[in-house]
C-alpha cells in the first residue's frame, strides 16, 4: 500500500518514467534513479543544452538507450481484467508537471537565443533546432504508439493504431508538427543556400521521400509488429490462464469441496466461505500481502487467523505502513490477543480493527459491540488481558486503554511510540 512495500530490486537499473512523462520520461527516470528532485535534472539538461546543444543530445541518447519502466504494468488480476474489459475509468493524465515544464522550455528558448546572439550562427542554428524538435516529436509518437499497442483490448492490431497509438488529435498533431518541423528545417537550410525556388523543390522532395518511405516500409513494420504483438499476447494469455487455474484449484475448488462435505454444519460453512472470500478478494483486487515483512501484513495475518479460529468477521482498516521490527511486533501480538478476547467473550460475529501507523507511533483500536465487562471487576487470576496485553505493551514502552461498557461493547486502544521509522512525510 505504501512505498515501503516495494520489493527489493536485485540490480538497480535506470528506466524511463513512462507514467507521467512530459517528453520521454527521461528526466523523471533519471531523477528516480539518482534520488534527485526531477526539477534539478531538467535544469541540468537545460544548462547542458546551452553548452552547444549537449543537453538535447544527451536527452535523445538516454531516450534511445533507457528502457521504459512499465512495459507490463502489473496490478491485481481482477483490477487488470476489469481494466482490459473497459469496466474501469481510464487513467487520468496529470497536469501538475506541465507548469514547470513550460517555464523550463521558455527559459531554454531564452538561453538558446542568448547563445545565438553571442555566437551569432543565425539560420543554421534554427534549422538544427527545428530538425531536432521534429525528430523528437516523431520519436515521442513512435514511443507512445509502441506503448499503447499492448493496451489494445481486442488483441487485434490495426495499422492506424500501430502508428498513432491511442489515436486522438494529440497523436495526429504530434506527427503533423514533427513532419512540419523536419521539412521546415530542410527548407531553412535550402533558403540559406540559395533561392526560394530551391527551397520549394527541397520541401517537395522531402515530402515525397517521406511518403515513399512510408509506403515501402509501412506494411513491413506493420506485419512485424502484428506478429510480435500476437506472439507476446498469446504467451501472456497462456501464463495468465495457468495462474488463474492454479489459484482456483488451490483455493476455491478446495473450499467448495470442504463446504459440500460440511453442508450440514452452518458455522463451518460460514467460516470456510468467509476465509475463501477474504482470500479471493485479496488476490483479485488488492494484491496486498499477508506476510510479516510489514506491520499491515502482519496485522492482516493476525486478523485472518482469528477469523478462521473463532468464526467472527474481522473488519480491518490499516492506514499507513512501516517495515516489521521487534518493537512493533509487541503491538501486533497484543492486537491478536485483544482480538481473541473479543471473539471469545463478546459474543458477536463482527469485530472492527483500525490501525494507524505513522512516523511517531503505532495505534491500534480493537472494538466490538458485544457483552462488555467491567475492567475493574476482572478476577486476578484472569491473565489474558493483564499479561498478554498490558504487560507486553508496557515492556515496549506502549500503553493500553480498555474502555468497556456492559451491554454496549468493548474497545481496546493500543498505543506504541516508535522511533527511527520511516518518516510519514516523504
Amino acid at each position: 500500500m505504501t512505498a515501503t512495500a516495494t520489493a527489493p530490486d536485485s540490480a538497480r537499473r535506470a528506466t524511463r518514467d513512462s507514467r507521467h512523462p512530459i517528453l520521454g520520461g527521461v528526466a523523471g527516470g533519471l531523477a528516480r534513479h539518482t534520488g534527485m528532485p526531477v526539477l534539478w535534472v531538467r535544469v541540468g539538461f537545460l544548462v547542458a543544452t546551452t553548452l552547444g546543444g549537449l543537453g538535447v543530445f544527451l536527452y535523445a541518447a538516454f531516450w534511445l538507450v533507457l528502457p521504459s519502466d512499465n512495459a507490463f504494468e502489473t496490478a491485481a488480476p481482477g483490477i487488470e481484467g476489469a481494466s482490459r474489459e473497459g469496466r474501469r475509468p481510464g487513467r487520468l493524465r496529470r497536469l501538475g508537471d506541465v507548469g514547470p515544464a513550460v517555464v523550463l522550455a521558455v527559459l531554454g528558448v531564452g538561453a538558446l537565443l542568448l547563445v545565438n546572439a553571442v555566437v551569432g550562427q543565425g539560420v543554421l542554428l534554427w534549422a538544427a533546432l527545428l530538425g531536432v524538435g521534429g525528430i523528437a516529436l516523431l520519436w515521442r509518437q513512435a514511443d507512445e504508439a509502441q506503448r499503447e499497442r499492448w493496451l489494445d483490448s481486442t488483441g487485434r492490431v490495426d495499422p492506424v493504431r500501430v502508428v498513432l497509438g491511442d489515436g486522438g488529435w494529440a497523436s495526429y498533431a504530434r506527427i503533423g508538427a514533427g513532419l512540419l518541423l523536419v521539412v521546415g528545417a530542410l527548407a531553412l537550410v535550402a533558403l540559406r543556400e540559395g533561392s526560394l525556388e530551391l527551397a520549394g523543390d527541397v520541401v517537395g522532395l522531402a515530402l515525397l521521400a517521406v511518403i515513399g518511405i512510408g509506403i515501402v516500409v509501412g506494411p513491413w513494420i506493420y506485419r512485424l509488429a502484428a506478429e510480435l504483438t500476437a506472439e507476446r499476447a498469446e504467451r501472456v494469455r497462456t501464463q495468465d490462464r495457468a495462474d488463474v487455474a492454479a489459484h482456483l484449484h488451490d483455493s476455491v475448488l478446495q473450499t467448495l469441496a470442504l463446504i459440500q462435505k460440511n453442508a450440514h454444519d452452518g458455522p463451518t460453512v460460514a467460516r470456510l466461505a468467509r476465509a475463501q472470500e477474504r482470500d479471493l478478494r485479496a488476490w483479485l483486487y488488492v494484491g496486498e500481502s499477508t506476510d510479516e515483512s510489514t506491520v499491515a501484513g502482519a496485522l492482516r495475518r493476525v486478523a485472518a487467523a482469528v477469523e478462521d479460529a473463532h468464526g467472527v468477521a474481522v473488519e480491518l482498516v490499516v492506514v499507513g505502513d512501516r517495515p516489521w521490527d521487534e518493537t512493533v511486533g509487541a503491538v501486533v501480538r497484543a492486537t491478536g490477543e485483544a482480538l481473541t478476547n473479543a471473539a471469545k467473550h463478546a459474543g458477536v460475529d463482527r469485530v472492527d480493527v483500525y490501525a494507524e501507523v505513522s512516523g511517531a507511533s503505532v495505534d491500534v483500536f480493537v472494538r466490538d459491540r458485544g457483552a462488555g465487562f467491567d475492567p475493574d471487576a476482572v478476577p486476578a487470576d484472569r491473565y489474558g488481558l493483564r499479561h498478554s496485553v498490558h504487560e507486553r505493551m508496557a515492556r515496549h514502552g506502549g500503553s493500553v486503554e480498555v474502555r468497556s461498557t456492559p451491554g454496549e461493547g468493548t474497545e481496546v486502544r493500543l498505543h506504541l511510540p516508535t522511533t527511527g521509522g520511516p518518516d510519514d512525510d516523504q
Partner: protein, 219 residues
C-alpha cells in the same frame, strides 16, 4: 428535504452488471417501504438512459461496469438531483477513491446487510455522505499521501483536525451517533464534517474549487 417529511418512497435505480446481484439487492430492498426500486441497468449506456428516464433520488452504482466503470455513468447521466451511492465489490483503493472523486456520495461494500443498505440510501438521499470504515481508511491514506491514487492530485486540501478525528472514528467502526457522543457534537455536525471531507476529495485542485464556488455564485 429530510426523511421525516418525505411522503413518497425514495426512488432507486440499481446499476450492476450481475443480474443475480441486482435481483438479490431488489429482494433485500423489497422489504422496506422507504425505498422503491424503479429501474435497473447492466452497463454504462443503459444506466445513463435509465437514470435520465426515471430521474431517481439515488443510484446504487457498481464500481466496475462495462463501458467505463461507475464513473462513466456519473459523467454521462444528466439528472442533476440524482445522488450516487457506490456499492462495490472491488477493494482497490484507487477504484473506490476514484469513484468518490467522480461524484459518488458514499461507498458501501457488497457484504452490507439489507437494513444497513436502506439506511445508507436514506442518508444519501438526504444529502449526507456515507462512509464505511474501509472508505474512511482510504480517505485518511489518500490525504496522508501514503497511497498512490492516480486520480488524486497532489494539492488536495488538507483535512482539518476535527475532520480527521471524525474519519478516524468512522474507520474504527463507530456509527454516526457514537461519533457524535464521543466528540460531544451533534449528529448533524458529524454529517457536516463528512460532507466537507467528501467535497475536499472531489474538488482537489484550487482551480476546481474556484469553479465550484463561482458556479454557485459564492464568489
Amino acid at each position: 428535504m429530510t426523511s421525516d417529511d418525505r411522503s413518497a418512497p425514495i426512488t432507486v435505480v440499481l446499476v450492476d452488471d450481475h443480474a443475480m446481484f441486482r435481483s438479490g439487492v431488489r429482494g433485500e430492498l423489497a422489504g422496506s417501504d422507504l425505498v422503491e426500486v424503479v429501474g435497473e441497468a447492466g452497463d454504462v449506456d443503459a444506466a445513463a438512459r435509465v437514470v435520465d428516464e426515471h430521474r431517481p433520488d439515488v443510484v446504487l452504482l457498481d464500481v466496475h461496469l462495462p463501458g467505463g466503470g461507475g464513473v462513466g455513468v456519473m459523467k454521462r447521466a444528466t439528472s442533476a438531483d440524482t445522488r450516487y451511492l457506490a456499492l462495490s465489490v472491488s477493494d482497490a483503493a484507487e477504484d473506490v477513491i476514484g469513484t468518490i472523486r467522480g461524484g459518488a456520495r458514499g461507498y458501501v461494500t457488497k457484504t452490507i446487510t439489507g437494513p444497513e443498505l436502506v439506511d445508507a440510501i436514506r442518508r444519501v438521499a438526504d444529502g449526507d455522505a456515507v462512509f464505511s470504515p474501509r472508505l474512511a481508511g482510504f480517505v485518511l491514506d489518500a490525504f496522508a499521501g501514503s497511497i498512490e491514487v492516480a486520480a488524486v492530485d497532489e494539492d488536495l486540501d488538507r483535512l482539518t483536525e476535527r475532520e480527521r478525528e471524525v474519519m478516524r472514528l468512522i474507520a474504527r467502526g463507530y456509527a454516526y451517533k457514537e461519533v457524535a457522543r464521543e466528540l460531544f457534537i451533534s449528529i448533524k455536525t458529524v454529517e457536516t464534517h463528512m460532507s466537507s471531507v467528501l467535497r475536499k476529495l472531489q474538488l482537489s485542485s484550487r482551480h476546481e474549487l474556484t469553479r465550484w464556488a463561482s458556479d454557485r455564485h459564492l464568489l
